[in-house]
Symmetry: D2
Subunit: 340 residues, 4 copies
């Protein structure tokens, strides 16, 4: 594969980025590059067994380390960066999910503040077996075990935010970041609007699998060896992170309360479908109201994230947004796999 520009990045611990924005790029990459990256888990690798309580072993605010940022050559405000996920391979044979004091959907938090004490802190170590494609749960209080299918994904992918801001890698918002949606798996293309020169793309927070909503606050958190292809789409803005697969278009919204996240995602998908098909906004509102799937992403982070998802087969005419970028990136993925 002579014409693929493949680059490998395995950051040293000092090279991790803890924010989107505010960090110097670790590399400059051209549009079309394929990146082979290692990402550390959200605990910066410090939770390794049942006794490693997050509140004790982790070093706040050094959570959710990101691999990057990558400066995408030529990227300017108003462009879009397309990130195609070619391959995600868990880098360990175990992953850790935890409760963290005052964090998660079914506990009071620092903002949903109550007088109640925090839930007990726990660490569940899951076996992760790539050969059998299985994650194995071991209950702590009883001897139950359970196998779930592995479904690797990245909780975090994003670019530097707008408005001169620097946001913690724990935050999901219009710049992407900690969206925590299971839809960010191999085969998906994520579109991110560029807010600063070079875009400053980072990725991290691998999950061996995650339920929709990330209810307890963490997924099966795991280091990941991931391959992505990056394409710069000039002159096309993207207001909120979007995802395209062979079969679906998705918009994401991140906000509180959760209905605002829902509104953002649904409205963006209407705008996207309307632009792609020529239907009016009201007609797209109607069609999508009957066609849309609305899986939640996270209901535990600084903002909550909702996904609006529609089958391409449910939209009139063949839609190929962003000048058919997804098809091109799928071709790149095939070429990469053919030569690996």
């Amino acid at each position: 594969m002579t014409d693929l520009d493949v680059r490998a990045f395995r950051p040293t611990p000092e090279q991790f980025a803890w924010t989107f924005g505010g960090v110097a790029p670790i590399a400059r990459i051209p549009s079309g590059a394929v990146l082979e990256v290692f990402t550390e888990d959200c605990y910066a690798g410090k939770v390794r067994g049942p006794g490693d309580l997050v509140s004790e072993v982790c070093d706040f605010p050094f959570l959710n380390p990101q691999t990057g940022p990558f400066y995408v050559q030529g990227a300017e405000v108003g462009d879009t960066v397309a990130v195609h996920f070619i391959d995600l391979q868990p880098a360990r044979d175990w992953g850790a999910s935890t409760t963290v004091p005052l964090f998660g959907a079914l506990t009071s938090t620092h903002t949903t503040a109550t007088l109640q004490p925090a839930l007990p802190e726990r660490v569940w170590i899951w076996d992760v077996d790539a050969a059998t494609n299985t994650c194995t749960f071991h209950a702590i209080d009883t001897d139950h075990t359970m196998d779930l299918p592995m479904d690797p994904m990245h909780g975090t992918v994003g670019v530097a935010p707008a408005n001169l801001e620097v946001r913690s890698a724990l935050v999901p918002d219009a710049h992407g970041g900690n969206l925590d949606t299971p839809e960010m798996r191999a085969g998906a293309t994520c579109y991110l609007g560029v807010n600063v020169e070079g875009a400053l793309l980072s990725i991290g927070d691998g999950h061996a699998r995650q339920g929709e909503g990330e209810t307890c606050g963490t997924a099966i958190e795991i280091a990941m060896n991931t391959v992505i292809a990056v394409e710069l789409i000039k002159g096309v803005p993207t207001p909120w992170p979007r995802i395209e697969t062979d079969t679906h278009l998705m918009s994401t919204g991140s906000a509180k309360p959760l209905e605002d996240a829902f509104r953002i995602a649904q409205l963006d998908l209407i705008h996207w479908a309307s632009a792609a098909t020529g239907m009016s906004h009201l007609d797209a509102y109607q069609l999508l109201s009957q066609a849309v799937e609305s899986p939640l992403a996270n209901v535990c982070d600084v903002n909550y994230t909702s996904v609006a998802k529609v089958a391409k087969a449910h939209l009139p005419s063949g839609v190929s947004p962003y000048g058919d970028a997804h098809s091109r990136l799928r071709e790149t993925a095939r070429a990469y796999r053919a030569h690996r």
Copy 2:
């Protein structure tokens, strides 16, 4: 089928119920009965063409007519009524979806109150073809059309509420009501906690199909010929409406803001799974956090509704809640179909 107790109810317009609670039963039924019912659409049948604007043709508050209530013999506070959906057949070859002023997810409303004027009012008449299992969309502002698969469901099923209340049939809450989830389709069993003697079960609001969230405020609204089987489960309370299929367990939560609906559903599913498997609450919290699907139901009604859904295959050991009621009701459905 000599031992099936099959009863047909086709209410006259004066017999519709507009509330849950506060209405005398139209019939008394025993546990085990199979009911063949007709339900009118949410517009009380008054929207029949593109010019029939809801604000003009409908007679507030006479919206969302319910067939019922049925007095379930022997039902007492603290019991559960199981409603199994055997068959749902749209009763017309068209359905209507509309915008309604200040109603829907992507508009200001009477409670998300703004100074903006309401969105334009529209009526979309969809073709509904049972033979091809298709719903056909016709755009108003352009000539786009689109076929979507038919997926009949009931937006509304419930019992009289607790706390001496009477609620409009437009409201979803702990008593069920206007949950508006696409999961309420043939093959599903809905469990409802009994709040008053006789339970006072009603059903209505057929949809030829509906997207998750019911974004514009209405689905493809249609009259329905529906067959349900009802079983009374003594001595087992159900705090929030639950749904069981051959493959999944689901809890629903209805509240605002939407994160509260999510919390209710997720917590109830944890409680349910914990009771069904013997796992501790914290262990069930962990397992479900990785296994759960979280499709939204409605984000437009008086309360919003979120669904927490888990594959039975993702729970340790065979779970057969409510004394295996779902299996029995599936058997009843098979018997009914064999003799129809």
Copy 3:
């Protein structure tokens, strides 16, 4: 005062109403009547000492007993009932405030559902001294005591709701009900839109005083001897409960999330001020944005309640809404006091 129609009502325990709507009137009253009523406290008088935990002594759902309903002769849908508070006298020399499991602003609840255990249940008995106008707090865990000024008010006043509904007396909404605002004190006139023939006015839930937000879920709950004057205002609807004093106009909104309660109240006050002054909606939006006070009422009930309050002195020209009803009712109050 020969022309005052003064009537006294002291309900027996069986006469209490536990809902708004769904209850037969205990009396018919003409517009202009003065009512001397006794209201029991929200615990139905069952919490009498530190050991009387609500979860043990109260008989759910028989909470928040209302005195009424009163059928206001001539009241029809679209009219307004004005309730002027002439006098509020605590009927006991003590009041009780409590924590109630999973109820209050700083705890998880049945809807803000978490896995945490409930807060401890407590009863604080406050001394209430009408002579010194003082409420005295006694801490439970230490020996702190504290005197606060008495400021008697009614947490609950309302009429039968619209939409064929019956609502628990614990609910605040467009029909009034459990608004729990300290603004409902002597000297205030509350305007309530009529939803059913006769309006069906009830009142209850006396508080010796209450902080804004009713954070712990209860005020200094106390039985009350209260005098109100009622006037029927024909042909003028009132969308949400409003309050007028000699110096201020107030609108209330009750909804979740709390920002919706805020939006409702602010928008209603804009509409009210605009109608009263002739200013455009946008100009009233501007003026009120700089002039409004926004004290919270409750952030613990089924809906949260926000108040939008503006000094009459901050509105152009003398405003005397509802045909100067407040002035007339003040005159009635003076006449009543002169002859008592």
Copy 4:
């Protein structure tokens, strides 16, 4: 007043800070310093008349310019900076309030996203007369005018945020920032927790007056000549911005939904009062539930802000938090005024 360290800062336009964090200090100041500062209005001075629409004349994201940051010598993470407002003088005889497209409480926004068009954009120029202490409103659509009392305050005061973040000056959060509460007036001391070395204190966003909630999104925005005194309090953290006056203690919470802002503020005030008096958390919960005032600050910004406010007279024993810092700063203010 030989021992007062008084320093004047009038930033040039290039010296404004547009964020909290991420900006080099413009000066280093010792604890005890008195600062005479000029702050530009939130429009960076670009809205000067009715035709100066924000969407046309302002240069996003260069809004809400801050004067600072000031590096407080000796300030370390875990300390508190106390900012006492000695004097606020509007620097012009007019102020501007505006509607901004998709911004404000009574409009859909970029996050409360709807399909409705934005409200019309308007600029109201208020006369501001320091001699008569008056702000004069001129309606646009009619000829109404109205005088309101001047009540100068700062919408924005804060320090660099925690978690490695840089936040737009439009954001209120735990670091302070755009709290937009009318309580930030002369005589108040604001306590801010230090998150980075030197604290990096900034101030801006003067308002000639503002209603509670800042409903339309802007106050009477005006440049300000302001005098503050700064004291560093070592070893005492402050989780959320607090305010002390001669008569009251206040906590602020900034979050969405608004009930979370309420919860944060109420819980922080309980923690503060409990620590200051020795009462248990539950007893403080009870006392404050009856004593607290809960005025809203803003319901339009990126986070909403709620204030929990209690009269010192309503707390047992004389409370003088932060080692009586407020009293010392009041003394500094008196000394400053004596020598000005």
